[in-house]
Symmetry: C2
Subunit: 291 residues, 2 copies
């Protein structure tokens, strides 16, 4: 499936990286997200996971992904980064291939503990040293003192503007949506900034054959940790043992369950902008109770 | 993630179908293809797999999928179809949710045997009673007496025209591509039509927890069985034990390995039309040796 000349270039890149000649024996296409093509490369030196994209589409996307993985890795296992490269019109990112198994009770307990400890990693300000991507959308991470300022300016306002520019929402929606902004500061309890995965849906964790939970596809920044927790509930697939274990290490503020829908307005608006206006209905029904 | 009113309608549909009130407890988004959104619905009556689409995008797509699953099911396990429905701007298809495991030697042997037996199911003519979809592209299945006529008229010519209309290939490519048509009849050995899965890449089989291989996402028609076999090699992920087992039940004609690239011109051209011009390079390098 991969163009032959690209495959040759990848073989050379891996060979240089591992310092042994590597031959690709088999390429297995994997179901992937909407942004990249993903493949399992079975080589003479074991399996690798490779993501491929057209280089002009999302500049620096793989650089941002590597940075996010590095940021998380002291606190939570992530796949090893082997190398990234560019060839002809393609860019690629070569990662450790992780054979997976289904999560059980023990995995969820470990997951909760590690996530709590990752969230305890803090920073002076909300935001991040650079902008990055959430899926294929640019994610702005300008630093602020207050979480509510960060959430309104870098998350809600930007997504709202994008949806309006794309004519996915009408003026009435915008008016309602903007009424939300002044209310945010009273909704979330004040907490110090937490290192977040940033896109913690059930497709973005894996359990390895050696029973370790791994995080993948990060969209990291320092934010309110309830955002990561809320995201686990938006698409399901996380077990209640995760929350029990998490709370044992870093208890959530009372009433966090009532803030889940608010925190999830951001990923819902990302869905509006990536996948179409029909998701705006869901946002409308969330903000109806708030404004 | 699913709009609340759609979720209510789905609950009602499932309840009617199983004749017991069903409550959706949890919705887990799944990585999916490029066409539909897919979710695991965990309900008070167990898990279901649901695909959702905007109804106007791909008319009759789910009807065609159900027909394909029904066509295959006497020969090869497929997920049970529970119901399909339409609500507001959405259409959905509710299928059995199958917990999966990783394939091992025994699975590949069963897979090979079942695939061979499915391919032994024949029909008078190449083609199918109706057109259907390959991914999101319409797949024309007009009946013919000869495989070479079918492959040229319903597969190569249609994909070539589509790619040219979309300006993904240039006139020089078209000229080279058309030189292939008269050569097809001498390339494939004559065989009777076989019931094909039609899109047999590694994302379209699953191994259930009860160790049964299942086929999903069919694009069925009666065609040359080397097309299904070739497709398993285009993206990898199938073990060599599959081919050994297959050949024990329905030996392939000599030299089939040399015809793999030719059979795969169709899925490669589908990739050109779905995912862009860069895939045309791969097609060029295949036809270079033939014309």
């Amino acid at each position: 499936m991969l163009p032959t000349d690209l495959l040759c270039f990848i073989e050379t890149s891996i060979s240089k990286h591992v310092n042994i000649p590597v031959k690709v024996l088999n390429v297995r296409k994997l179901h992937g997200g909407s942004v990249n093509f993903s493949y399992q490369l079975n080589t003479s030196q074991g399996s690798f996971f490779i993501k491929i994209n057209k280089r002009e589409h999302f500049p620096l996307m793989f650089e941002k992904e590597i940075d996010g993985l590095n940021q998380i890795s002291p606190f939570f296992p992530v796949p090893k980064v082997f190398c990234k490269g560019e060839f002809s019109e393609y860019s690629f990112l070569l990662l450790e291939f992780i054979e997976t198994e289904t999560a059980n009770k023990n995995h969820w307990e470990t997951f909760g503990e590690k996530l709590a400890k990752m969230h305890q990693n803090s920073s002076k300000l909300f935001g991040y040293k650079e902008d990055n991507y959430n899926g294929s959308l640019l994610q702005v991470n300008s630093k602020t003192n207050l979480w509510s300022d960060f959430f309104v300016q870098n998350r809600l306002m930007i997504q709202c503007k994008m949806a309006r520019d794309k004519q996915l929402i009408d003026n009435n929606f915008v008016t309602q949506f903007e009424k939300l902004y002044p209310k945010i500061s009273n909704l979330f309890p004040q907490e110090k900034p937490s290192l977040l995965h940033g896109d913690l849906w059930s497709g973005n964790y894996i359990i390895s054959h050696s029973s370790t939970p791994f995080l993948i596809d990060p969209a990291v920044y320092y934010g309110h940790r309830e955002v990561d927790i809320a995201m686990t509930l938006l698409f399901g697939g996380f077990n209640k043992q995760l929350y029990e274990s998490y709370e044992a290490y870093y208890p959530l503020e009372r009433g966090w369950q009532q803030r889940v829908d608010i925190a999830n307005i951001y990923p819902l608006m990302v869905h509006v902008n990536l996948f179409g206006a029909s998701y705006a209905q869901r946002v409308k029904s969330v903000i109806k109770h708030l404004v």
